[in-house]
């Protein structure tokens, strides 16, 4: 505690970058709003979506700096448009598992990766999950392309930058990427890549292509808006 670096508490620019290293005494009690010195990191997130068993969990865990964590979230499904039995629109709640990990980006930013099964129906939880996301990685298994339709639809509709990434199971793809593009009917602007969910660098590069989409959108909206 006494080894605390000397800090001019009056000048925020002189605050050391790592809040957790600060002397806890420098924190104030409840009711404070600023607490600049002990401020938690700024969280950002990327969503990792796709059908069942496509490699979402593998992708997140290979690059996360913490062991993969899992939590359960309630997902409200508005059954109206999917109910083909003619029943009255109804809401049901199911529980889905959410896998996640994180990466410390710099002294301030922490990147979270949330992996979740793409469902046919998206509700409440998907809004929560994607709200404010930098972008999304939609993983596909080229043997079961249809599993990712729902996720692709969702991200297109909500104007969330995304990249479709075919997981190379056993180092090979069942289809050529251009055939995949055709089958998914994604626009030419949507990057389509292949990657290996078990290789950290491959996952890193897949995430980087998502971020380049995010950047392109940010540049676009700053020009347009």
């Amino acid at each position: 505690m006494d080894s605390k670096p000397s800090v001019d508490a009056g000048n925020p620019k002189l605050q050391p970058p790592y809040p957790q290293l600060l002397d806890p005494r420098s924190e104030r009690g409840p009711g404070e709003s600023g607490d600049r010195s002990g401020q938690p990191p700024l969280p950002v997130k990327i969503v990792v979506a796709g059908g069942f068993g496509v490699g979402k969990t593998t992708t997140v865990s290979v690059i996360s700096e913490i062991p993969l964590l899992t939590t359960e979230a309630a997902m409200t499904e508005v059954a109206a448009h999917i109910d083909r039995t003619g029943h009255v629109p109804e809401k049901t709640t199911t529980t889905v598992a959410l896998d996640f990990g994180c990466i410390t980006i710099d002294e301030e930013i922490k990147l979270y990766l949330f992996g979740t099964p793409g469902q046919d129906r998206f509700g409440f939880m998907w809004h929560d999950l994607t709200q404010g996301a930098l972008g999304a990685l939609v993983i596909v298994d080229t043997r079961r392309l249809e599993d990712c339709y729902a996720a692709v639809d969702y991200f297109e509709h909500h104007d969330i930058p995304f990249v479709v990434a075919a997981n190379r199971f056993d180092g090979r793809l069942e289809h050529h990427l251009e055939d995949v593009r055709w089958a998914l009917a994604v626009s030419d602007e949507t990057p389509l890549i292949s990657f290996d969910a078990r290789q950290r660098r491959s996952v890193r590069d897949a995430l980087l292509s998502v971020l380049h989409m995010s950047l392109a959108r940010a540049e676009y909206s700053s020009v347009v808006g």
């Binding site: 809040p19 957790q20 806890p24 005494r25 924190e27 104030r28 009690g29 409840p30 009711g31 607490d35 002990g38 401020q39 938690p40 990191p41 700024l42 969280p43 950002v44 997130k45 964590l69 899992t70 939590t71 359960e72 979230a73 309630a74 409200t76 709640t93 529980t95 959410l98 996640f100 994180c102 990466i103 410390t104 980006i105 710099d106 930013i109 922490k110 990147l111 979270y112 949330f114 409440f124 929560d128 999950l129 404010g132 996301a133 930098l134 972008g135 950290r200 660098r201 890193r204 995430l207 980087l208 971020l211 380049h212 995010s214 950047l215 959108r217 940010a218 540049e219 909206s221 700053s222």
Partner: protein, 161 residues
């Protein structure tokens, strides 16, 4: 109940008794669908304080979106000095959270590490934030469109080997 402070002596709001909000698990039929927004200072002499509109959310098992725009699952929470000081006096659900968040972590992380449903973790952490026991940092609005931030994330990822 669980609190040390006398009401009104500072900004803190008393925490609800987490034992009373346990019936999170869906209660088909017994659903309270009222909107969460209540006139503040309603004089119905509730059996417990209801500071944050948690109950309707809990009773409906997540079917109703909490009105006080819910905390993002990636929002970072960290225990304040008041939280550390009062930890031992808190009901154990709250105490666990206050002890867990010595280092800042995400709401989702609170849920995962304590084996709580995400919705429950969100409600309990909101209570603690309101009580001044947790400091919070939420993602800024428009963050995902902020070029500088995105560029920093790109640089950070590029450093991964």
């Amino acid at each position: 109940m669980v609190l040390s402070s006398t009401p009104g002596d500072d900004e803190r709001r008393p925490l609800p008794d987490p034992g009373l909000i346990r019936p999170y698990v869906d209660e088909p039929g017994g659903v309270d669908d009222r909107p969460d927004e209540r006139p503040s200072g309603s004089n119905g002499a509730p059996p417990y304080p209801e500071p944050s509109g948690v109950r309707p959310y809990l009773l409906t098992g997540g079917r109703v979106r909490p009105v006080d725009a819910s905390l993002e699952i990636e929002a970072q929470v960290k225990t304040t000095s008041a939280g550390r000081a009062d930890a031992v006096r808190l009901a154990y659900e709250y105490r666990d959270i206050v002890l867990l968040c010595a280092q800042p972590i995400a709401i989702a992380e609170v849920a995962a590490r304590l084996g709580l449903h995400l919705g429950v973790a969100r409600v309990l952490t909101s209570d603690l934030i309101e009580a001044g026991y947790l400091a919070v940092r939420r993602p800024d609005a428009g963050l995902h469109q902020n070029k500088k931030i995105i560029e920093r994330v790109i640089r950070g990822l590029q450093a991964i080997r």
